[in-house]
């Protein structure tokens, strides 16, 4: 069977809006266009009702109640609200936050901002498999610790943290636990009760919903979590986040959440099957290809793999009709290779050689096979061109060479 190109395998970056989600959204643009905060007429009531339904659909995925969902513009805002909101509200109680070096920039840069403004932050290192060492977390708690922020699953590697154990450690010390669950939401089961999660950030566009809408789960009972709002105004979202609700986007978020929850078991099994097919073919057919991060503790659809002695951007350039992403420096503005892979102890060379491939709802086995064939061809071609590959074939240890850094 032939495949249609270009092939999209970058679902961790974003997803197309599911047709069913789009259909649910459309009436809320020009037909049911009311302001959900208008209490005096039908237009407002319709909008409010639609928002309530969506709130329930979203809450249900994580075992929360609708009142615990604070809608935001996306997960970046949700992370900002969770971390700055707690730090500001609990200023009297303490000023210490624990997080990890491999968090998303939305968490890292928010913590760095707080560090410049009187907070102390412990940056946990990460183990080679991409997971936090729980003993290190335990040792990091102080009397003035107010918040632990550790992501559910990493965006570059797909590695999942032991969230339930982290939650238990935090709860035992009466420290709030925030998790950035953007990549995990709707992909793996999440239960905020069982996992003792107090705050959780999510985004619609990673689950086939629209861009521009996300949410922060804020626990209301045992303990009741309070936040200092970061966007002030009309007092929407129980004062936690002002601003007119984006009703069509919220409806889309709700519809996407419901589909994700309904199909979670079947879809994750199918996607895991494809991911394992991808992983097995790549590692068996391409010598010196290395999977980055734990193979078992990872999201079903995400694979991060390094092809030694081939630079990532040049590999992407050869994969013209395939959309994947790379941890190579050259694909970022900063010219630094992936900080996530570096933190896991990968040397720069392997970090430069990495690809992130993410499989999603629309991916087929034919597409996976096509992508493997193209990667294989290009890795072979580029290795023929690689002086490093030549040296290794000649038995030269690359570490023994004095390179001229530039």
């Amino acid at each position: 069977m032939s495949v249609q190109t270009p092939i999209y395998m970058d679902y961790a970056a974003t997803c197309p809006v599911d047709e069913r989600v789009l259909a649910a959204m459309l009436p809320f643009f020009s037909q049911h266009f009311g302001n959900a905060a208008s209490r005096t007429h039908k237009f407002g009531w319709e909008a409010e009702e639609a928002v309530d339904k969506a709130r329930n659909q979203i809450a249900s995925v994580i075992g929360a109640s609708a009142k615990e969902i604070v809608l935001t513009s996306g997960a970046t805002e949700a992370n900002n609200l969770a971390i700055k909101g707690v730090a500001e509200y609990l200023r009297e109680k303490g000023n210490h936050i624990i997080t990890a070096v491999t968090e998303h920039k939305a968490v890292i840069d928010t913590c760095k901002y707080l560090e410049r403004n009187g907070c102390e932050v412990t940056w946990l290192p990460i183990q080679a498999d991409g997971r936090v060492d729980l003993a290190e977390l335990e040792a990091a708690f102080r009397p003035e610790t107010i918040l632990v922020s550790l992501m559910f699953a990493n965006n570059e590697t797909g590695v999942i943290q032991d969230v339930a154990k982290i939650g238990a450690l935090c709860r035992a010390r009466k420290v709030l636990f925030h998790t950035d669950a953007v990549q995990a939401f709707g992909k793996v089961p999440i239960d905020v009760e069982a996992m003792k999660i107090d705050l959780l950030s999510i985004s619609a566009h990673k689950i086939y919903g629209p861009k521009g809408i996300g949410a922060l789960y804020v626990r209301r009972r045992r303990p009741r979590v309070r936040l200092a709002p970061q966007i002030h105004g009309g007092g929407h979202e129980r004062g936690n986040r002002s601003g007119t609700l984006a009703v069509p986007l919220i409806v889309g978020f709700g519809a996407a959440a419901e589909l994700a929850q309904r199909d979670l078991a079947d879809e994750s099994t199918r996607i895991l099957g494809l991911r394992e097919h991808l992983r097995t073919r790549l590692t068996e057919e391409i010598p010196e290809s290395i999977v980055n991060g734990s193979v078992d503790q990872r999201l079903p659809g995400t694979l991060n793999v390094s092809f030694s002695y081939v630079e990532g951007e040049s590999l992407l350039m050869g994969l013209k009709d395939v959309a994947v992403s790379s941890g190579s420096a050259c694909t970022s503005a900063s010219l630094e290779p992936s900080y996530v892979l570096r933190a896991m102890g990968l040397n720069d060379e392997l970090a430069h050689s990495s690809l992130r491939i993410t499989i999603g709802r629309m991916t087929t086995q034919e597409e996976v096979d096509y992508v493997v064939d193209r990667i294989k061809e290009n890795v072979e071609r580029l290795r023929e061109m690689s002086p490093l590959w030549e040296m290794v074939q000649e038995g030269i240890d690359l570490a023994s060479i004095e390179w001229t850094a530039h």
């Binding site: 630079e311 040049s314 350039m317 050259c330 430069h352 061109m385 690689s386 002086p387 001229t404 850094a405």
Partner: protein, 126 residues
């Protein structure tokens, strides 16, 4: 990021990929860059009567690095070594329309040809 047509052409059809015998007296080898930085170029020249008769390269790096080294091997063939030494990175960058963030690739190619010539001269001095 969009690549220029010339970069794509050199990436897809690289000129003079390969290796020369580095123990040959007439061959100069330059290896520049570092794996940690994401690019390493190996450029080799064969010299007869001060004229470069052959040039080969192997490059680990992005498309612009591959294109810069491929282009330089094309240029230096038939040049006197004194001329080849005058090649400036700005000429390479201009020919390939490299964006500012890729200028270091052309710098590396200039360094590579200079290193190959220096190696050849060292060998001749014995």
């Amino acid at each position: 990021m969009a690549y220029s047509d010339k970069v794509i052409d050199h990436y897809e059809n690289p000129r003079n990929v390969g290796s020369l015998d580095k123990s040959d007296e007439a061959v100069g080898t330059g290896i520049v860059g570092a794996p940690a930085c994401g690019d390493v170029m190996k450029l080799q020249i064969k010299v007869e009567d001060d004229v470069i008769t052959e040039a080969k390269f192997k490059t680990y790096g992005c498309g612009s690095a591959i294109a810069s080294s491929s282009l330089v091997t094309e240029w230096v063939k038939g040049m006197k070594i004194d001329e080849a030494e005058q090649i400036k990175n700005s000429q390479i960058a201009e020919e390939l329309s490299l964006p500012p963030v890729k200028i270091h690739c052309s710098v590396l190619a200039e360094d590579a040809i200079k290193a190959a010539i220096a190696d050849y001269r060292d060998k001749k001095k014995g």
